[in-house]
């Protein structure tokens, strides 16, 4: 795709209302997440330390973060609820007395970072596998395709959970490479790996049809080497398929990250992600549902926007549906 092609695509997509909404929503989510430290400093809250004995000032009143329950015996404590103001504790506190809004923003940072890094890694792996299998064919293709079939046969979440159970809590020690138990690279690698079959199969199919195209045969007839054909003929024509897959894979990765973190198998405390936030909110579902609902809504909006964007890109770049 030349520069003209890119501009034409932007122009064609920017007239679609759903695409505008999707990009606006994504931009908002990303921007808000980037501003997390700014918010935390301005509101004067620490999103990562327990603050059960703390207080906050609301409408001139000093309030305990942990309020006595309003049952007749006043047993137990309930965190402060939301007041929807633009100040500290606007979304209330969680069971540790931490500011929900700041944790939501910091959680977004982790979730978006892990999801986008995993999607990038996944597409790199899938692209390499797709090119090797689709272009070289023969036993390389048989080997890689059967391997993908095996991965495909294992339910994605079961596979991800199994890998996480083994790695999280111990970290990974392979020769020189040592990843701490709380490293983001562990969930990134696991999530990227489990979605490789999902992306590698359509990419392999695309490479296969490209490598039988007459212009590839023409290049071979001119004496181009395999490497040159891959770089000059196949890759530029594979790029649109990868662009189409990127948002869709990222949406899947975001969901997987949330699921793993919800099960304490992804992002580890004290770090937060939208998945861990939902887990925090689980115990407060009856009294302070906002603690679980807020990150849930954030996930829904982001995934929805990514899917709308992915579908629009697919309709534009791949109208005949090679990547479907």
């Amino acid at each position: 795709m030349g520069e003209n092609g890119f501009l034409r695509m932007v122009r064609a997509l920017s007239v679609k209302r759903d695409v505008i909404f999707a990009i606006a929503a994504l931009g908002l989510v990303v921007l808000a997440s980037l501003c997390a430290p700014l918010y935390a400093r301005m509101a004067g809250v620490d999103p990562f330390s327990s603050n059960v004995a703390g207080t906050t000032v609301r409408h001139g009143q000093t309030l305990d973060l942990m309020q006595p329950n309003d049952n007749p015996l006043h047993l137990g404590l309930t965190p402060l609820g939301p007041d929807w103001s633009a100040s500290a504790y606007s979304l209330g506190a969680d069971s540790q007395g931490r500011d929900v809004a700041s944790r939501l923003l910091y959680g977004g940072r982790s979730s978006l970072l892990i999801a986008s890094a995993a999607a990038f890694l996944c597409l790199c792996l899938s692209g390499s596998i797709g090119i090797c299998a689709g272009y070289f064919g023969g036993w390389v293709d048989i080997l890689l395709s059967r391997l993908l079939d095996i991965l495909w046969a294992i339910p994605v979440y079961l596979f991800a959970i199994s890998l996480s159970v083994v790695t999280v809590g111990h970290g990974i020690h392979l020769g020189f490479v040592t990843l701490g138990a709380d490293s983001f690279l562990i969930p990134i690698g696991i999530i990227a790996l489990v979605y490789v079959p999902y992306a590698a199969r359509p990419l392999r199919a695309r490479v296969l049809s490209l490598s039988r195209a007459e212009f590839v045969m023409a290049a071979r007839g001119m004496g181009a080497s395999d490497f040159r054909i891959l770089r000059r003929e196949i890759l530029p024509n594979l790029a649109p398929s990868m662009v189409v897959l990127a948002p869709l894979v990222m949406a899947l990765c975001l969901l997987a990250e949330s699921a793993l973190s919800f099960l304490s198998l992804g992002v580890q405390a004290p770090s937060a992600s939208w998945g861990t936030l939902i887990q925090d909110g689980e115990g407060l579902l009856y009294t302070r549902p906002i603690v679980a609902i807020a990150p849930g809504v954030a996930i829904v909006i982001t995934v929805l926007a990514l899917n709308i964007l992915g579908n629009a890109l697919r309709d534009y770049l791949d109208p005949k549906g090679a990547g479907r």
């Binding site: 795709m1 195209a213 007459e214 212009f215 045969m217 290049a219 004496g223 530029p236 024509n237």
Partner: protein
């Protein structure tokens, strides 16, 4: 005239799985002389494209050999074949698929020059665009911006850019309108006259072949059944299959003769003896058992038939 390209007992088989083998090209021997235009004629599926691709080393023959300028080029690795590639080029049938859609045609024309490390690329590309009758400014446009006829001109330009001795053109005009076909046929003639490049035209269209070819080789089910001087073959066919092909061309001065009965047999399971005997109007018992070889017949003609129509 000296021999430029020679095929000796060429076989090309494709394994289909399940132990079945498709015999695309079987026992083909032919010669292409310097500067000559040879037409490979036959129905679709008769192996003419496979033969064309095998001749210029795009696919490896199962057995037999191809000699270019006296040197054996079949069985060479891609790397060893590279210097030879510059001397033989292919013009593809579907001009819309023959160019990388994400590159300008100027880039596509320059690519062969870059691969072979040539100098003065821009000048050479301009030169070629002049020769095929296109404006030099089209080099900055993308393939989808051209009509089929213009794209076929570009296709020819790309095949000629390295200055080859041999062009193999696979159905170069069959995807074009009749009026555009005539332009491309004329372009081929002019280029052959000015450059002296030898051509192998693969075609199923006998009227195009009549205008383009010095010599004709007729193929049926992977084998050459008749080969000889162009007008000789077209005006006095010696093989019953050639005659049937010519009879199938509608002409205003006569009613269409009855077509051949039956379908082309499967190249996976070709008939015994003469491969044409299942459909031949003059077949004899001998044809079902003995396979005829190409035998000289008249002047400079070879026919693979036990009972040729002309002596």
């Amino acid at each position: 005239m000296s021999v430029l390209l020679e095929a000796r007992r060429l076989e090309k088989q494709y394994r289909l799985g399940g132990g079945r083998v498709l015999h695309a090209v079987s026992d083909v021997s032919l010669q292409v002389h310097r500067g000559e235009a040879l037409a490979l004629v036959g129905e679709s599926g008769c192996g003419k494209s496979s033969l064309g691709r095998t001749l210029i080393g795009l696919t490896h023959p199962t057995s037999g050999e191809v000699l270019f300028d006296g040197q054996r080029i079949s069985g060479l690795s891609d790397r060893a074949l590279r210097p030879w590639r510059a001397r033989m080029q292919m013009v593809f049938q579907d001009s819309s698929a023959a160019f990388n859609p994400r590159r300008t045609v100027g880039e596509s024309l320059a690519e062969p020059l870059r691969i072979h490390g040539r100098k003065n690329i821009r000048a050479r590309v301009d030169d070629l665009l002049d020769q095929v009758g296109l404006a030099r400014s089209v080099a900055d446009r993308y393939p989808h911006e051209f009509s089929g006829g213009q794209r076929q001109r570009l296709n020819i330009a790309r095949a000629l850019v390295l200055g080859p001795d041999l062009l193999v053109a696979d159905e170069p005009v069959s995807a074009l309108d009749v009026s555009v076909q005539a332009q491309i046929v004329n372009l081929f003639r002019d280029l052959r006259a000015s450059l002296g490049v030898a051509c192998v035209f693969i075609s199923h269209d006998l009227s195009v072949v009549r205008q383009m070819a010095d010599r004709i080789a007729v193929m049926y089910l992977g084998s050459i059944v008749e080969e000889g001087d162009g007008l000789e073959v077209l005006d006095r066919p010696a093989h019953p299959y050639t005659k049937a092909l010519l009879d199938a061309v509608p002409r205003p001065d006569r009613p269409l003769p009855p077509p051949l009965k039956g379908d082309v047999p499967s190249p996976v399971n070709p008939p015994s003896g003469c491969r044409f005997h299942t459909r031949c109007p003059i077949a004899q018992p001998k044809c079902a058992t003995d396979r005829p070889s190409l035998q000289p017949c008249g002047t400079g003609r070879r026919v693979a038939c036990h009972y040729p129509l002309v002596a």
